[in-house]
Structures are given as C-alpha cells and as structure tokens.
Amino acid sequence: MPIVGTDIFLFLLRHWKLLVPLALAFAAVTMLLPRPRHRAIVWGGVCGLAALILAGCFWVRWDNPVSPEVVLFYAFSGMAILGGVSMIAQRNPARSAISFAVVVMNTCGLFLLQAAPFLMAASIVIYAGAIIVTFLFVLMLAQQAGFSNADDRSREPFLATLAGFVLLGSFLLILERTFPDPKHFSEFLSRVETAAQGRTVTEITTALGDKEAFLMEVKREARRYRGTDEGIKIQQGLDDLMAGWEAREPNAAEMQNALATILEAGRKIQERNSREDLPAENVAGLGRTLFSDYLLAVELGGTLLLVATIGAIAITARRAEKSA
C-alpha cells in the first residue's frame, strides 16, 4: 500500500477547511505551554483566538436555525475548550485546578443539553465538589509557595502537542467522513428524484447533470454506507444505472428503476438520521435501569469504593515510630 507523498499532500489539501484551524490551535497550545523563558503568551492567545474564529467559520453549519439549544451548546463547548486550554497552560497548579472546575461545569452543561440531569448533578458533586477540592488540599499541603520550578517547565511540549493534534485531526477526519453534511445529501437526493421522474433518456441525463461527477458522487455515497443494507442497495442501483447508461441503446425504464432504488435507499438513510429527542425526565428511568439491569455492576462499584477507601488509608498510614 504505497502512500506517496503527493497522495498525502493532495489529501490534506482536499480537507484544508478542517486542518487550518487545527494547525492554528496547535501553534497556540505549543506557545502557551509553560516554559521558563520566551513564553509567547500574546502570540499564543492570538493564534488561539484565530483558531476559534476559523473553526467557527468552517466547521459550524450556519444555515441551521438558531435555537437556544444551539447557542447553549456552542457556549458550553467553547468555554469547556477554553477552560481545558487554560488548565494545561497555567503555571500555577491551583489555577489549573480552578480551570478544571470550569471545564467540569461546562461539561455538566453539555450533559444537561443531552437530557442527562442526574449525571450533571453527580458530576458536579463528585468532580467539582470532591475530587477538585481534594486536589487543592494536596496542592496546598505540598506546594505552599504556589508554583515550583517543575511547574515552569514542560516535558517535550512540541512533540506531545503534535502527537495530540495529529490524533485529533484523524478523529475529525473520521467524523467528517462518517457524519457528512446532511444538506449535501438532501440536495443529491432531490436531483435523483427529479431524474427518476424523467421519461426519456435525455430527460434523465439532463436532470442528472455531468455524468462523471454524478457517478462519482453515487460511488462515494455507496462507499460511505458500505456494509449497511442501504449501502448495498445503492451499489446495486449504481451497477444497474451504469449498465443501462453505457449500453449501446440506453433504456430509460432501466435507468429509472435504478434511480428509484437509489432514491429509496437514500430516503431511508435520511429518516434514520433524524431521530426523536430523548425525554429529559429520565432520572427515574435511570434509577430503574441501574438497579435492574446493572445491579451487579452497582454493587461492585460500591465494593470498589470501599476498597479504594481502605487502600488509600492503608497506603498513607504512617507506621508508628519504633524508636525507643
């Protein structure tokens, strides 16, 4: 499987919209990570801001209706990300802990948006309430001066950030491939619909537009949903269509049938992608599930907590001095 340099370059170029904000974010984080000298906070901040703005431009679909849900989502996510960056870039560990608290708050907001009220509450209580407070205690115990030399420095900032952002890039690429723009898809399907209604070959071909481009698009869709029933149907339709189109005497009826198959499969996919929301009052249901389906896990979780408590005490218990 030879991956030639030009292949990679072309690939990256194709997805530039995805990668430019990522690159700016990478630059920002690298510059913001603590260093003993020459720490470019201002430039880091500028890059980070630019990254956010570009991400907003390229990644967000602005033609969706603006509802409170959408606004809240972007607000929570933005603040969570900013809090995350702040946590890893702060020199003072106490401030990092506070930033983490901010992250947890915003994550809980996102939980709330996704109809998980119990989780929100549990997260706030446990994370922000217990874990972070314990951490702060330990910090106060250990580093009364605030921050030490170790906090001033990072271990391999460039390489770690690069690895992280390449990983993020691959995540985003996979996500983009798996969850394409639904507008795109509905446009494609409407074209197929109009073409399927055509009677003669010429009508069909004009409705479909450029032959090569259309075929390429169908192929891409077939590949995207490959493995599913709908994907198989689309592939079938594509084969029939190509057979009919490239025969010496194109048959309109055949092509119509093929297009109808494709349309049917596409509509099913669209239907599947739009789902009902989860009802928000699901705490009782959550409780019922926990104590019926997951009873064993709950009990084990409890035992685990007990063991952890005993373990923590056992580890830190100072042995009584045996000196006379």
């Binding site: 991956i3 271990r155 390489l159 770690a160 691959s170 690429l173």
Partner: protein, 674 residues
Amino acid sequence: MSDPDTLLWLVPGFPLAACLITAFLGPALLRRYSHWPTILGALCSLACSLLVLLSLYGSTIDHPEFHTSPHTWFTMGNFKVAFALQADALTAVMLVAVTFCGTFIAIFSTWYMRDENGYPRYFAIMSLFLFSMTGLVLANNFIALYAFWEGVGLCSYLLIGFWFQKPSAAAAARKAFLVTRLGDAGMILGIMLLWSQLGHSLDFTDIFFNARTRADSPYLTVACLLLFCGAVGKSAQFPLHVWLPDAMEGPSPVSALIHAATMVTAGVYLVARCTPLFVLAPVAQIIVACTGAFTALLAASIAVTQFDLKRVLAYSTISQLGFMFMALGAGMKDKDLAVVGASAAIFHLFTHAFFKALLFLAAGSVMLSMGHVIDMRRFSGLRKALPVTHWTFLCGALALAGVIPFSGFWSKDQIFDAVLGAGESSSPFAWLYLILFIIGLLTAAVTAFYTFRAYFRTFHGEEKIPPEAYQHGGHEVADAGHHAAPSAAVSDHAEQKFETYWAQKLPLIVLAACAALVGLVCEGFWHWLTDFLGRATSFRVEMPAHHVDYFLILVSTLSAVGGIALAAWMYYFRPGIAERIAARMPRLHDLSSRRFLFDEVYGYVVVGPLKIAALICRFFDGIVDGIVDLIGLSPRVLARILQPIQNGLVQFYALVMIVFLTAFMAIFVIWFNR
C-alpha cells in the same frame, strides 16, 4: 580350547583385556605392577598362537585354514562389511612372530621404563598395539584389516610421542601418523576399487576368486598399486620413508616392537596376502620390486654415515624391508615364482623380527646405561661394561649381515634366489630383475659394513663412558645415591655395574638365541617354514621343489664377509681412517649424512604449500568468524542504540506510545480516505 573359533578370538582377546585392565586400573591401582596384565596377556596370546600354528601344521589338508563365524559389522546398501577372523599358515607365522617379540619386549620394557611416570600408560598402549597387530593379521576382509591398520598406526603415534612434552617427540609422532596417512589414502582407494570391480565383496577369498578371471586388467594393476601405496606408507619405503628415522624419538622397546619387528611389517604382510592379485598384475610387481630395491640401497647408503646408533638401525630396518618387497615383487606371471618370492619375503620378515628386535633392545640397553646418550661418538669400548649386551648385539649383527649359520643368512639367500629366478624367467622384465639382484648384493655388502661399523664403534676401541651414565638410573651405584658427581665416577668406576637386572638381560639372551638358531632350525636345508608358508591359502599352488644354489651361497657370503672386513679394517684396525676417507669425498659424505635432503625437499614441496593453504584457510576462517561475531554483536549494538528510550520518565514512555499510536491511526485514516 582347541576349538578354532575360541582360539582365534583369544589371540587378540588377551591383549585387549590386558589393555583395558591396565588403562582403567593401572594409574590408580596397579601402578608399578602395571606390566603384569600386559606380559600375561602377551604370554597367553603367544600360547594360543603356538596352538594355532601347531594345529595348522599338523593338519592334513593342503591349505589349512581356521575361520570364525562371521558377524556383520555394518551395512550401507550394497556395502556389507562382516567381521570374522581367519587363520592360515601365513597368519600363524606372523602371529607367532608378533606375540613372541611382544612378550619379550614387554619384559624388557619393565626395566627400560621403570623410572617413567607414564608406566601404566605405556603398557596399556603396548597391549592395545598387540591387539591391533594380531587383529590385523587375523582379519578376513579388507575393511577389518584397514581398521586394525589404523589401530596400529594410532598406537605407533601414541608410543612415539610417549614423552609428548618433548617437542621433537611430539613432532615425530605427528610426522609418522601423517606420512602413513598418505599411504593409507591410497590403500583405501585400492580397497574400494577392488570392491567395486570384483563383485562387491570385501572378503579376501571372494576377491581372490573373482580376480582370477580378470588377469592383466588395468583396474587390477591400479588397485594393486594403490594397495602398495599403503604398504609404502606403513613399511617406510621410498618416498614415504622419512617418518621412520624420526620415530626413534620413542623409547627403544617401542622402536624394537613397532618399528622393527611388527608394525612396519604390516605392509609386507598385506602384499603377501594379496599375492593372488599381484600375480595377475606384472606391472605392479615390477614396480614393487624396483621400489624395494631402490629403497634398500638408499637407506643403506644413508646408514653408513649416521652417528646415532638407533638411526643406523632405523635405516637398516628400511633397507631390510626393501629386501622383503624386492622378493615380493619377484613373482611375475609365474605362480611358482610368486610363491617362492612371497614365502622368502615372509621368512625374512620372521627372522628380521628377531634380530632387529634384538638389535634395538641392545641399543636401548646401551642408551639407558649411558644415560640416554646414543651418539656413537660419545661412547666406545663398551664390551667390558656391558658384556651381555655386547655378545647379543654381535649375534644380531651377524644375523643382519647374513653370515652363515645365523638366521639372516638363510632368509637373505632365499630372497636372492627368488630374484634371480625372476631374472632367469621368461618375462619381459627379466633383465630388470637381474639388475635388482646386483643391487641387492651390493646392498647386502653395505649392510654388513654399516652394521659392523656400528658394532666396532660401540663396543671396541678404548673405553669411553659419557658422564651422564653415572647420573642416571640403569645401573647400581656403590653408594645408593642417584646423582653421583662425575669426579667420583672415576674412582668407583670399577664398581659400576650397568647390567644387573634380569629383565634387561633375559630378553636379549632369548632373542639372541632365536636370531642365531631360528633360521637354521626352521629352514636350514629342510625348508620346514617355507613349505608351511607355501600352504597358505593365498597361494593355491604347490611349493616348487627347493634346490640348493651353492654359487649363490658363496656370492652372498662373500659380500657379507667383505663388508665385515672393510668395517673391521676401518674401525678396528685403523681407527681414524674413516674421517680421512670422508674428507676425500666431502659432497657424497655430506649428502649421505644429511639423509639425501629428503626432509628438506618435502618441507619445501609439501609442507610449505600446505602452510600457505592453512594461512589462507585461517584468513577465510577469520572472515566467517568475523561475520558470526558481527551477527552476535548486532543485538548489543542495537541495544545500545535503543537503550536511551528507557530513561525512567513515565511521561516519555507515554509519549512514545501515543506518538506511535497516532502515527498508525493517521496512516490508517489517510489510506482509507484516499
């Protein structure tokens, strides 16, 4: 006990048992008594051999033979090697010679080796040698013979290098082994050729039977010559004779047993055994005869100028072996002549065993008494100091020179008879045989000369004893100290007795008696021995009637007496004249005393290229070793390179993991999204 099977297995069995007992129990248990198993084993073996001889002699069959039932040793497809013993007249005679000499030489060794640390080792190897030698003559197929052939070679190596800490001894042992190995290479080729051409069998009887239909075939000639190669190596003929003089580094009893009486005669035995083959290959026979004659003359001419007594005797051995081969080669197509020649050779082998062993033991007696000094220039006039040695040496010398009625005379006479018969036969090479006869006569004269040169130089003249004689054991000193000062030696010189041990004197006396009488008694004018030899199964013809050639007797006696007279004149009546004569022929003398530069030539021609080849091989070996070392080094180098990854920082470890995971995922994603 008279069951031939058991008897035949016992003959090599006793020495083998003695060897095992001495080897395992000797160093720890027996120590100074380690000689008993060997002597007893040899005696029992001698008894069994005599029984075999008498049973065969008394048998009414024309060509009597004892077999044991054959056991299969191993099989490789078509190649089947059995293991059985067979004894016919030839074997019986050889067995008696071997075991008799072996017994008395073992007795002598108890005196000679008594101060040595390796006493048990010596006797163990000597027993092993007796086992191998008796097995060799008892073998009934070529491969078993070859196995025992190598066995005697091994024992020779071990015994020559007995004092292995001495570099010259170790080198001499190696030389002996390697030079005989060259011969053995030819021999095994010959054996294989015979196997492949003559019916895929290795037994003597089968091969001799199948060969009768293949007279004059070139394969047979080549096979015979290859077998003769082995004989050349083992019996120290030209060009492989260079190992025998060096083999004198071993103890004198070893030289007596192995390099005079028995091992070196194995080659003669082989050719005699294969007489049916050689008879069908006249070209091989003439080559054998020529080699023998040439070697005889060569060795005799070297022996004339040597000062080391044992070296003189070594060259004398080579020369006498040459005589034996000359007789063996005198067969030609005539089967009668072949029988005569072969039996003459074996008879000479028989008598030579006795008188040469005697001479070597006497030399050993002289050497040990003189404190390991064997250079004849450093002692003389020992006839008063070593009387028994003196008279026995004289017996042996007379036998070697071939003076009537000593045994050497009878056997040499028979050899000349055979060669002359070949010379007068109707074969195309008859003229060559006549030339060989003349060479033989000349050599006999020279033999008498150098033998008595040694005798006169050692035992006559003014008495001169080297100082080492008084520092070593081998004699009783008036005061019981081993390290008497030389100055004290002069005063108690009259009280020195060099010959006090019966173990020193008995073997000498017995062998001297044999040397004097065996020829007369066994052969004389009634030809018991050669008639008996004629009944060996190899021959299959009747021994022709013997006729007494008085002219021949006269000529050979004249040559012997002439040589003795010349030696007496130069060394007894006019001592000192030898140096003047040598000064007049400096080049010849130099060439002879430097042994015709054979060792030097071999050093350049054979050893030099082999050393270069060894250097080249070592170079390639170094390359291969270097490659292997490199392969062995690469994990270490790789480890050095990769070691810094383990720097103890947890975050670094996590980073490495993440980096590789990320890289993998990125490649995955890009590849699937092309």
